[in-house]
């Protein structure tokens, strides 16, 4: 299984907001354990889906030059469960963007239902951690990742520069 928790972008406004969707399916193994007889998408994976949506939004804002790492879950509140057959819609907005970091606000919906609210802090790690050095290559936005991103270049995402 690949660690990709949304299926495509629906909307992408550079430096501002992104909307990604994920179709939840019983083909996903973990749903059979979470929980047996009552499959629901784990809240932790909903947070991950939001982190990926928002992380790409933050990364694209600086041309994927920064290594963008999820630093902190500022707030995560869930109101409803997500079940197989539903489509999850992650909407992320950049609230603050610095050279060193960013804050995003996000909502997770299924149809008109608000499932959760997730606010995140991202770090541009090369700009942080008191001068410690990291590998030069961008291990967050790898070539493989950027190649995959081309598959998202449809309906409103054409402006993602690659």
């Amino acid at each position: 299984m690949r660690w990709i928790w949304f299926d495509r972008f629906e909307e992408f406004e550079s430096g501002t907001r992104a909307v990604a969707v994920k179709n939840v399916t019983l083909a996903e193994d973990h749903l059979h354990d979470h929980f047996p007889g009552f499959p629901v998408m784990p809240a932790s994976l909903l947070i991950e889906g939001m982190a990926q949506t928002a992380g790409i939004l933050v990364g694209e804002a600086r041309g994927f030059r920064e290594k963008v790492i999820l630093a902190k879950v500022q707030r995560a509140v869930f109101h409803e469960v997500v079940r197989p057959g539903q489509q999850v819609r992650f909407e992320a907005r950049i609230e603050q963007l610095h050279d060193a970091a960013a804050v995003t606000r996000g909502t997770i919906r299924c149809g008109a239902t608000l499932v959760g609210e997730v606010d995140l802090v991202f770090s541009h790690i090369d700009q942080n951690l008191g001068g410690r050095e990291f590998p030069e290559e961008n291990f967050v936005f790898t070539e493989e990742f950027l190649a995959l991103l081309t598959t998202y270049r449809q309906r409103g995402t054409e402006r993602i520069p690659l």
């Binding site: 630093a71 603050q96 610095h98 804050v103």
Partner: protein, 129 residues
């Protein structure tokens, strides 16, 4: 220009949210890391909340005095030397120096910060606005 009490009160609210601590734990003398349990990554969160609360721009380098701690003249083996400590003390008022001076490792610089340090920092920022 808000009063010191008003500044403190906004900082207190920001720290309660950022660190999940109780309001009465956030006293001017409380150290962010030792007393309030902040981790280095929380400083990013705190900076964003302070910017929003006070309408100022704060760079992390500015808050953590990065120009001093990355200056080769001020360090040996990733520890601040006497000149570095002196330079830092002139900048950071109300810091908790007792612990840091025992082990002035650059990685532990954030242990110096108290709530009072942040209040002074914001006061200076607002005065310069």
């Amino acid at each position: 220009m808000p009063t010191k009490e008003e500044i403190f009160s906004k900082i207190q609210a920001a720290l309660v949210e950022a660190l999940g601590v109780d309001e009465d734990e956030v006293t001017p003398e409380a150290t962010l890391m030792g007393d309030l349990g902040a981790e280095s990554i929380d400083f990013l969160d705190i900076i964003f909340r302070l910017e929003k609360a006070f309408g100022v721009k704060i760079s992390q380098d500015e808050l953590t005095q990065n120009d001093i701690i990355t200056n080769p003249a001020y360090q040996e083996n990733r520890k601040l030397n006497a000149a570095g400590l002196k330079a830092l003390k002139e900048r950071i008022r109300d810091g908790d120096w007792a612990t840091f001076e025992k082990d002035p490792s650059i990685d532990k610089i954030q242990s110096v910060f108290t709530v009072g340090t942040i209040v002074n920092f914001i006061e200076q920022k607002l005065a310069a606005k």
